[in-house]
């Protein structure tokens, strides 16, 4: 049954245009507050933790794209331009709230403390990679930092976040889950399934849509006809807020309030963060084929890092010297970590068959034995496998 509504006696169509979703914004580009805006409470330490994570992400993206161009890395994916959205939302959570991200959320890991070496080991798929070299670069995961391992298929993490959050609600420990996704992924069926289920079951989950303008090359006008993603929440009777995604303070405050709704009232929330993917979709993409330099330049003027930095400077918490020192330090550390990661051996051959199940089934152990015999016979043809021939007994038995 629908909610009680008044009846009409001539056809009356509606389009949803009656509902306008405003954009919540606090910061101007020069770091000053909009008229009537009030900055959220943010300590000096927390503000710097946030900014360092944003800068870390920017430098990591620059360094790793360069490494990809040099042929040292097979693939990379930048989050340039979206740092305030990702880091701002993460900073508003408890550090043990669950994050189920899409793939452009390295800022969340950086904020929580994932080390440069941990990033590098994943990117190079070496023996120290938690994912054991099984997934393409940027598919990070961390149990320690409550960051679910990335999965390439788009939007699959969204209904999973609802289930995860339902489990958290049952446990009653006041934790929630946030799931990130792009405005393109929001076209997938999984998105709609997830929002409906979250609303029906009153689950402590935050859906954070990074509306960055493009799904690879497809612009938003070819992705949906409505006014962005936010109005979809109405159909599910869900709380929704649209926020300036390049405004760290606004994203932080919106997510803080969303978390309160989710955890204290079991009300799921949709946040649409309006931002822009300043970089290409990935190292395999060239945006010059589908958007203008003029458009990019206009968004570069709205750089979220510069905006946050200006605000910090106005607080007297940051200056040019500190900026230069941080950049130099990050570049040096990343260069050294990259070299360390490159020197690590590949995962052992036996790791090919572990973790398919909790234990290696007999039939699969036989397949490994056949493969090992083959690699022993032709080691020069399989240098990585040959290098990891005898290192793998432990890995094959499972475990981390």
């Amino acid at each position: 049954m629908t909610r009680d509504t008044s009846s009409v006696h001539v056809p009356h169509f509606m389009t949803g245009d009656e509902w306008q979703v405003p954009t919540f914004a606090l910061l101007r580009q020069d770091g000053s507050l909009h008229d009537g805006a009030e900055a959220p409470e943010l300590t000096h330490d927390k503000a710097l933790r946030i900014y360092r994570a944003m800068r870390f992400t920017r430098v990591l993206d620059e360094r790793m794209l360069a490494a990809q161009r040099q042929g040292r890395l097979s693939f990379y994916l930048q989050s340039t331009g979206e740092e305030a959205t990702v880091v701002g939302a993460t900073a508003a959570l408890q550090d043990d709230d669950m994050i189920m991200a899409q793939y452009r959320e390295q800022g969340a890991l950086a904020y929580r403390g994932f080390s440069i070496d941990e990033f590098m080991n994943q990117l190079f798929g070496n023996a120290l990679d938690y994912g054991k070299g099984r997934q393409m670069p940027i598919h990070y995961g961390s149990a320690e930092y409550h960051y679910m391992t990335i999965s390439s298929p788009l939007a699959t993490q969204i209904p999973q976040a609802v289930g995860y959050a339902y489990g958290q609600k049952l446990d009653g420990e006041g934790r929630c889950t946030i799931t990130f996704f792009g405005e393109g992924a929001a076209s997938e069926g999984d998105f709609h399934a997830a929002l409906n289920m979250a609303s029906v079951h009153q689950v402590p989950v935050i859906f954070l849509c990074r509306n960055n303008g493009y799904a690879i090359s497809t612009p938003v006008v070819e992705q949906f006809a409505a006014d962005g993603i936010a109005p979809r929440a109405f159909g599910y009777r869900m709380h929704v807020i649209r926020v300036d995604g390049n405004d760290l303070l606004a994203v932080y405050q919106a997510t803080l309030a969303a978390r309160r709704l989710a955890v204290e009232e079991n009300k799921p929330v949709l946040i649409e963060a309006m931002t822009y993917r300043l970089a290409a979709h990935s190292s395999s993409d060239d945006p010059s084929g589908y958007r203008s330099q003029k458009e990019e330049a206009a968004w570069r003027e709205k750089d979220p890092l510069a905006r946050m930095r200006h605000w910090l400077e106005r607080q007297g918490w940051w200056d040019d010297d500190e900026e230069r020192r941080l950049e130099e330090q990050l570049r040096d550390e990343m260069l050294a970590a990259m070299k360390r990661a490159e020197r690590q051996p590949p995962p052992p051959l036996a790791s090919l068959v572990s973790d398919v199940y909790d234990e290696v089934p007999a039939a699969l152990a036989e397949q490994l034995a056949v493969l090992e015999a083959h690699v022993r016979r032709y080691p020069e043809e399989y240098p990585r496998g040959a290098a990891g021939l005898d290192a793998g007994a432990e890995t094959a038995a499972g475990g981390q």
Binding site: M98, K132, T156, P159, Y164, A165, N196, V356, A362
Partner: protein, 325 residues
Amino acid sequence: MAHMNMLQAINQALDIAMDSDPRVICFGEDVGGFGGVFRATSHLQEKYGKARCFNTPLVEQGIVGFANGLAAQGHRAVAEIQFADYIYPAFDQIVNESAKFRYRSGNLFNVGGLTIRTPYGGGISGGHYHSQSPEAYFAHTPGLKVVVPRNPHQAKGLLLAAIRDPNPVLFFEPKRLYRASSGEVPEGDYQLPLGEAEVVKEGADITLVAWGAQLPVVEEAAELAERDGISSEVIDLRSILPWDRDCVAESVFKTGRLVISHEAPLTGGFAAEIAAAIQQRCFLYLESPIARVTGLDTPFPLTLEKEYLPDALKVLEAIRASVNF
């Protein structure tokens, strides 16, 4: 022991699973107060509350996506897909997510607590969309376990094992046997092993392999063949993935002949995998070609369902052809 049908046995298994572990959660379409369209979840909501047994919206990809997340969080998610014919919207969540969750994270995360229950199979005048046997699609997916019980006793023990197994399990329930199959079932808590076949009848001349609803069919064929003086060994595979090659091979070493039967279409059906593996293991012991008695390579029909189905007479003919090869 108590006499009951397969639905009662499944209901009892779910009851025991929920009673013995507060982290077991059951959900799906019409699963809550109504107790499921087949009544497999009867009274569970009354007993364990709406938080642990509930209806979901009508969205299979959402049900399995939700179940993956709930299992990753540490609960034991028992999701029902109302008919196996409607599992395909969830195919991505099962094949790309459930099956790869542990592997892709290097064992940082897993959905071992996941069990998907779903009624499958024909013989109930269900036409294309209430009769399919899609087990082979999932048997092609490393990371999943695929289990099919043949009677109430098996259903209860295998379902309890599936729910508690540390890997995601697809549990296909032969809906034709839900009420048609009854028998003695231990009342307490017990489990039957996953990945192990069972020799349900010993014999000397030929091996018959089947699973789920097809078991009574090949048993009937074995009885008919007995009148011709042919002694059949009948094996219930029970698990399709991983499957018990040793059990089947041991039998074929002895009999030298093999007939495999399933309702699903012939091409790419799971019998093909068994035939390939057994001819490799038992090549020099085979007295005749391995035979498959299956559905046709068509969508599942309606009016001519009896003609489509691999019934006992068709299996008997295959047995005779094999023995007289």
